[in-house]
Symmetry: C2
């Protein structure tokens, strides 16, 4: 059954593939599963209909028959469990890949998202210049640890997995900060993810949504 996901009708990233639907699109492309997209406006995200699908009023959501999911970690894991290509067959390697999914979302992403708050939401605060370096310090601490663990490997634990997919997408949110330039192996790791044909197809699909919306304005 062809699943339906939701995505921003007007993505705030202007099609740069930073919105979270990108993770789900990329996972679906990796496993070769076609999907439909329903675009939602910021207003529509606050309606009871959307909140029934996503209690926190965000995108993406994932619908497949009677099943409705939210949280990209859960959706990507669901896709990975039901198709070959995103999780290893070996049980221990599989558990480690799941570990990296959680590491991407609960260890790496929070300080990176906090940076978006510091840069965008707190821009006009008198103390934003003092807080941003503290946030950047927390991000650098995590980047240094991740860089050490990755070392000279292509991927975090053997073959490319859903753990790498999530980690690469989380790290991409740092692109405007240029912080990754200080961690060449992480920058190369992100580039390796972006070079995958499935990533490129997913990126093109979300960019096409932005381009169409922009040309229709």
């Amino acid at each position: 059954m062809k699943p339906t996901i939701t995505a921003f009708a007007n993505s705030p990233d202007r099609g740069r593939g930073l919105a979270r639907d990108m993770r789900v699109r990329w996972a679906l492309e990796e496993v070769g599963q076609p999907y439909d997209v329903r675009l939602v406006s910021f207003d529509a995200m606050k309606t009871p209909e959307h909140l029934a699908l996503h209690p926190f009023g965000q995108i993406p959501t994932y619908e497949e028959g009677d099943l409705a999911l939210f949280e990209t970690g859960s959706v990507v894991f669901h896709i990975a469990e039901r198709h070959k290509g995103l999780l290893p067959d070996d049980a221990d390697a599989r558990a480690r890949a799941v570990t990296w999914m959680f590491a991407a979302l609960s260890t790496m992403e929070p300080p990176i998202l906090d940076r978006e708050i510091a840069v965008l939401v707190e821009r006009d605060k008198s103390w934003s210049g003092e807080r941003l370096p503290l946030v950047d310090g927390r991000i650098r601490n995590r980047l240094g640890q991740l860089s050490t663990r990755l070392g000279t490997s292509d991927w975090l634990d053997g073959a490319f997995s859903a753990g790498d997919l999530m980690m690469v997408h989380v790290l991409r949110r740092l692109s405007s900060s240029r912080m990754l330039e200080d961690y060449p192996n992480l920058a190369a790791y992100v580039a390796r993810g972006e070079a995958r044909p499935a990533f490129k197809r997913a990126f093109a699909a979300q960019l096409a949504v932005f381009t169409a919306a922009a040309s229709g304005r």
Copy 2:
């Protein structure tokens, strides 16, 4: 095979069950799996030996034969997959329970942890009094949405699951803020989790570590 987890030799929470090993202990108690605990000091957490187990230098870790895991989401999921009691048998209900695990860790926990930074790390900053209400606003937004979704249900999706275990533990980190008092159904939800015999056994086990360390000082 009896797994070994790591926990703080000197927990900063003084045995109040807020440290993350509590989640793993609770999960192991729910499924009736005995375990060993290795206590680690803050210095030991930065050694190459510990970083080999946990690249981000934290606790808990989970070792079971040749398998070594970190990230409580991953560890609790691993336990839940291999024993009965923490995930439903029905595939769709199982996917929804996993969704709540990710929601607890990547949607609810980040602003709650940010509050700990605002209260503890930024205490002496001139702007801490201005930032804390912004953080609290983000937490209240999420609590309101979660409260609406929970409604009058006992648990987030039918029977108690690993999703509830993670969510209850994440919400417990708000205890000192007393914010949950404004959301009676969430306060009752947390109390319902804390009343489970498995929670009580896990809580007693981690408190015993603190009590023993304190009496030995």
